[in-house]
């Protein structure tokens, strides 16, 4: 029997969108949903990262496991990750988790032959799948040659060599942080700021300036035309109560009223580059839906329980 639906209808508005940075507003939903999205983005959206390293030759100054650890932390473009299978679930390979469906193979060969130090970077990792490559972190404007190098793995001197084979697999941040696709995910409540105009009139310009400066971030300013205090950037407010304390210290409590809107959130997402920031949000919603579906009760259980329910009632009552 279907009960009344208690569904919410959230609204989204994107403020700023770049490849690896996203700022958007989420309205008309609960804080638990916003927090669940944040937790999923950090820990449960799958990506691909190097998980197994076979080293043939290593005469560098770093030892084998050190280099393997660094290789694991290199972000790889993971658009394939949602469709890929986990290695442990894969039935195509013969149990070693290295088939083409559940993993990607990388090679690295570097040898220093000159007197100059050779930087082995993430650009030297050669992938077997062109859609999964180390993330290119260089700026598109490319004003500085040093920015184009990629992530440095190790530096080699003359005569030192590094040769290895690496397997990258799908994983989630909960298992190891190398699989986390998000650099930072934050959300804040949107503040609602109301200035009491009558009390504000009673202040001199000097007092108004003093009061505005007591806020560590620039939330208020004096309008040059009307000489009134206006809210210039409500979201710069960090919920420190400095302006409220200053108003009380000046003898004017209630000068401004600031409260957080309970169902309005501003998300700021920075991605490592493995997945685009906007794609990250969509994947997070998908993963959260899958989690909820996994804990769903099936319909036949409900029926069985209903039959039981009467019996149980009799037993308890009788």
């Amino acid at each position: 029997m279907e009960g009344v639906s208690y569904e919410r209808f959230p609204k989204v508005k994107i403020r700023e969108m770049k490849d690896d940075y996203l700022k958007f507003e989420l309205r008309e939903t609960d804080a638990s949903m916003a927090n669940a999205l944040r937790r999923v983005m950090l820990a449960e959206v799958p990506t691909i990262a190097i998980d197994l390293v076979e080293i043939e030759v290593n005469s560098s100054v770093l030892n084998d496991e050190f280099i393997a650890h660094r290789l694991g932390l290199i972000p790889l473009t993971s658009d394939r990750a949602m469709a890929m299978r986990f290695s442990r679930d894969c039935d195509a390979c013969d149990g070693d988790g290295q088939c083409e469906y559940c993993s990607v193979e990388f090679h690295l060969r570097a040898r220093c032959v000159t007197d100059q130090t050779l930087d082995v970077t993430s650009k030297d990792l050669i992938s077997s799948d062109p859609s999964v490559v180390p993330v290119d972190l260089s700026d598109s404007s490319g004003y500085d040659a040093s920015e184009q190098r990629g992530i440095i793995i190790v530096k080699l001197r003359r005569g030192q060599e590094l040769r290895l084979r690496a397997i990258a697999r799908k994983g989630i941040g909960k298992d190891h942080a190398k699989w986390s696709p998000a650099a930072t995910v934050t959300f804040m409540y949107e503040p609602d700021i109301l200035i009491n105009e009558d009390l504000m009139e009673a202040l001199t310009l000097e007092e108004k300036k003093n009061w505005i400066e007591s806020s560590p971030t620039k939330v208020f300013d004096i309008d040059p035309n009307t000489q009134q205090v206006v809210v210039v950037d409500p979201e710069a407010y960090t919920y420190d109560d400095e302006v409220i304390k200053k108003a009380e210290a000046m003898g004017k409590p209630g000068l401004v009223d600031i409260y957080a809107k309970e169902d309005s959130f501003i998300f700021t997402i920075e991605s490592t580059g493995a997945i685009k920031a906007s794609q990250l949000v969509i994947n997070a919603i998908e993963v959260l839906k899958q989690k909820l579906d996994a804990v769903h009760l099936s319909e036949d259980t409900l029926e069985a329980d209903d039959q039981f329910g009467d019996l149980g009632g009799h037993l308890r009552g009788g």
Binding site: S5, Y6, P10, M33, K174, G312
Partner: protein, 162 residues
């Protein structure tokens, strides 16, 4: 030394949560305190992730144990259950941070002894805890669908910056 493996946080081991341990526990419980009957105490293993037990002392109350989940799912479910008017009480907890499961439960307000509860839901006679639980998950599913569509629409409308 005693810490469980990292993958235990989300990988459900195969063949877990058989009904038998619950039955035997309850048989013992029933025989010792109620001197009766052969029901399985109203517990059930739905799939290998979720199992639930009806509360023996309070009508319309049940405890759901969800394996390998944490606050991400627990808090969202709990807040959604609060919105349902026929649910009198809903709460969840993690029994221990190193045991990777949550228990969701509702009680009538007069104290309850715990065996091992995780999510408790206590409802009025209009609906059963199982219905409330299912309804909550359905509503959350719909909300997430709506959110996804809203986000995708916004993405197409918003001009891309490079």
């Amino acid at each position: 030394m005693n810490a469980p493996d990292r993958y235990e946080r989300f990988v459900v081991p195969e063949g877990t949560k058989k009904l038998i341990p619950f039955i035997s526990f309850f048989f013992f419980f029933f025989f010792s305190s109620y001197l009766s009957v052969n029901c399985n105490g109203g517990s059930s293993t739905v799939n290998d992730r979720v199992s639930y037990e009806r509360d023996t002392k309070i009508i319309n109350a049940a405890s759901f144990t969800i394996e390998r989940e944490d606050h991400t799912v627990g808090n969202v479910l709990r807040m959604q259950l609060h919105r349902d008017e026929s649910v009198l009480f809903a709460g969840y907890k993690l029994p221990h941070p190193l045991q990777y499961k949550i228990i969701v439960r509702g009680s009538g307000g007069y104290g309850f002894e715990q065996l091992d509860w995780v999510l408790q839901i206590h409802t009025t006679s209009q609906s059963s805890p199982m219905q409330a639980y299912n309804q909550a998950i359905n509503d959350l599913d719909k909300e997430l669908n709506h959110l996804k569509r809203a986000f995708e629409d916004e993405m197409t409308k918003h001009p891309r910056e490079y």
